[in-house]
């Protein structure tokens, strides 16, 4: 006759497996991040060159291809970018360039890029960029995200009338397509992607990893 099934043993074994799995995930979360190096790529800014933060004389430029609707992009903005701004951009070590890489599957993403570009027309791209990224979980669920973005426009103090005109006639949309195509041309397949010192890296990264790549670019002569 077949042996009876021992449920207690199974529960103990299952629990042990669950602990091992949780431990492996925990270890992976603690491991220092290292982005993937795709290969050397030329950075050729045609038409609209993106939104720039920092000095023209900064020796290294970091180009970020991002989508406002991408979770990892928002995490990069929230967790890494504040340090990048204060410790690298403000000190003149780095110039940051944002390129739109709109991904159609992300809800309300095109509206978000439109809002940021229209704020950029009044010189407030980065203020709107931060509002959009820090509030990503809010506007992504909205059926009418334009109201939310209009609120951000008021918050950052731009002329809402001009902003409305810009959003209304959608004149920035063609710029997004061009920016995305340029990204695709240099090998961007996902967001966020970064070009640092002529090398393309894919995936969100922490500040320490970014500095490692920056040091590599500085050693290679910058740009």
């Amino acid at each position: 006759m077949a042996q009876p099934v021992n449920l207690k043993k199974f529960y103990v074994a299952f629990g042990a497996l669950a602990v091992v799995g949780a431990g492996a995930i925990w270890m992976a979360m603690r491991r220092s991040p290292e982005p993937v190096e795709v290969g050397p790529v030329p950075v050729n800014a045609t038409a609209f060159p993106g939104h720039v933060l920092g000095s023209d004389s900064a020796p290294v430029e970091i180009v970020e291809y991002a989508d406002f609707g991408c979770n990892a992009c928002a995490y990069f903005t929230v967790l890494t970018e504040p340090d990048v701004k204060t410790r690298l951009v403000n000190t003149g070590r780095v110039r940051l360039r944002f390129r739109d890489f709109v991904t159609p599957s992300h809800p309300n993403s095109l509206d978000a890029h439109l809002a940021a570009a229209c704020a950029g027309e009044q010189g407030q791209f980065w203020a709107m960029h931060d509002q959009i990224m820090f509030n990503q979980q809010r506007w992504m669920r909205e059926r009418r995200p334009d109201r939310e973005f209009r609120g951000y426009a008021r918050t950052i103090g731009i002329d809402v009338g001009s902003y409305d005109d810009c959003v209304g006639d959608q004149r920035m949309v063609s710029r997004f397509a061009a920016s995305r195509q340029e990204g695709l041309d240099i090998g961007v397949t996902a967001t966020p992607s970064f070009v640092i010192g002529g090398m393309l890296y894919t995936g969100a990264m922490g500040y320490d990893s970014l500095v490692t790549l920056l040091e590599r670019a500085e050693a290679a002569g910058g740009q």
């Binding site: 006759m1 077949a2 042996q3 009876p4 099934v5 449920l7 199974f10 074994a13 299952f14 497996l17 669950a18 799995g21 949780a22 492996a24 995930i25 992976a28 979360m29 491991r31 220092s32 991040p33 290292e34 982005p35 993937v36 795709v38 991408c70 979770n71 990892a72 928002a74 995490y75 990069f76 967790l79 991904t103 159609p104 599957s105 992300h106 809800p107 992504m140 397949t189 996902a190 967001t191 894919t202 995936g203 969100a204 990264m205 922490g206 990893s209």
Partner: protein, 153 residues
């Protein structure tokens, strides 16, 4: 009973794979152990979002449901009934179809392979096959015998 235990263990493995991918997708893992960068390409592509949520999140929920059903099926009141296994096969069947679609996207649209996604696809196929085996008459007879033996002891 044993097929439900097997499904519970496979679902746990699948849950951790999905959790790993989801944590990376939302930016809580700095890097993903993938080898050739295919996971990044797939996970950050526009196809990695379904119904507004990361595909990995759907995977987590799916494996969790399979785990719950298989555990419920191990309880004495359900042990000899067919419904838990039928439910497992149904859910796993949906999972196999979804995994098949995602694998097609990797091969034909994204042109990159996410190894963890392939592992997950293999796990859901194994779960489905295990469920089918559990539904076979010979397996059921054996299960009932074991269950009876359990009761006598």
């Amino acid at each position: 009973m044993k097929h439900r235990m097997t499904i519970a263990v496979l679902s746990l493995a699948g849950f951790f794979v999905s959790l790993y991918l989801w944590l990376w997708k939302v930016g809580l893992l700095g890097t993903i152990a993938c080898g050739d960068g295919g996971c990044e390409t797939v996970q950050l592509s526009e196809h990695a979002v379904f119904l507004g949520l990361p595909v990995a999140f759907h995977g987590m929920v799916g494996y969790l449901v399979l785990m719950i059903v298989s555990f419920a099926g191990l309880q004495p009141r359900w042990a000899e009934r067919r419904e838990p296994t039928q439910l497992l096969v149904l859910f796993a069947g949906v999972g196999v179809l979804f995994a098949g679609y995602l694998t097609y996207l990797e091969a034909a649209v994204i042109h990159a392979w996410c190894r963890w996604c392939v592992v997950s696809a293999a796990l859901i196929v194994l779960i489905f096959v295990t469920g089918i085996v559990g539904m076979m008459p010979s397996t059921r007879t054996s299960n009932v015998q074991r269950s009876t033996s359990n009761t006598e002891r």
